[in-house]
Symmetry: C2
Subunit: 141 residues, 2 copies
DNA sequence: ATAAATACTACTAAAACAATAGTATTACTA
DNA sequence: TAGTAATACTATTGTTTTAGTAGTATTTAT
């Protein structure tokens, strides 16, 4: 159930863009330095994020990246889904036709519920929440 | 965010044992046949499940496996955790000392919340729920 | 004794993942 | 219009994880 490095680093990248939202274009180089992630690696993550319409870019000198929408309009689910592909815990939840046992499978239900909870959770948290520390983790047992 | 085959197959194995809870010892061979999973593969999963105290076994002819507790006392979380190890979506949630950026990391919070939701969900569902179809997936958007 | 089951050890193959390298293209600036 | 600094693209490599198989040892009921 581990999130990929892709999704983790991508979320950090997006947080940096959110923090600098008002400043316009930001160089990947600067984000790489701030987050201590290789610029080369980040340069791969940026492509699908742009294709998804979450960020926009400008090429050439004084180019850079910025969020394509306000931080409040971008959910963590969108980011993770973009970088990780389908986020469901098992293949058959998103794509039931791949398994012929689906109609009798007693375990399908629990993965379905789990998928819903994960989706719901990531959908409810935006970049704005992250940079404002609005949402608080429930530390009680 | 995919669950491993180990955890999926292991859960199916446990469901089979739950379905046959009243019948005493069950051969792995029969479970393998019923679930269409290689007996060899299942024979690996059985070891940590036994070590965790979720199942018990008897060797020799007329041996087999059974649940060590009533299906209502075994949660899906226990099963997944046993087979998958730590189930947290990122390493630093379970083990904060591995990352020096933790105090300033804006993304840590979301993974923490996600971890809690996943744990909570899997903790709330028992083998008994699975075989009774008691819990129902919420199909509304 | 024999047969039928679990327990254990080792290995292999395949897939996923992380990360780097190098080149091409774009566009601002002087 | 040449130079420079940025993004865009393509390819490759190395590592780790995961899935799965093979074979042997041990236990126990008959």
């Amino acid at each position: 159930m581990r999130l990929s490095t892709r999704a983790r680093y991508g979320t950090r990248l997006m947080v940096e863009l959110a923090l600098n939202y008002s400043k316009g274009l930001i160089f990947l180089k600067d984000i790489a330095e701030e987050e201590e992630i290789s610029e080369k690696y980040l340069s791969h993550l940026v492509i699908p994020l742009k294709a998804r319409g979450l960020i926009s870019s400008s090429r050439g000198a004084h180019g850079g990246y910025r969020l394509a929408k306000h931080p409040v309009e971008i959910t963590v689910k969108e980011i993770v889904q973009t970088l990780e592909g389908n986020i469901s815990p098992v293949e058959c939840v998103a794509n039931p036709s791949i398994c012929k046992r689906i109609s009798t499978c007693k375990t399908h239900e629990v993965w379905d519920i789990l998928d819903q909870k994960i989706t719901e959770t990531l959908n409810s948290i935006t970049l704005s929440d992250l940079i404002d520390n609005k949402k608080q983790a429930n530390t009680s047992k």
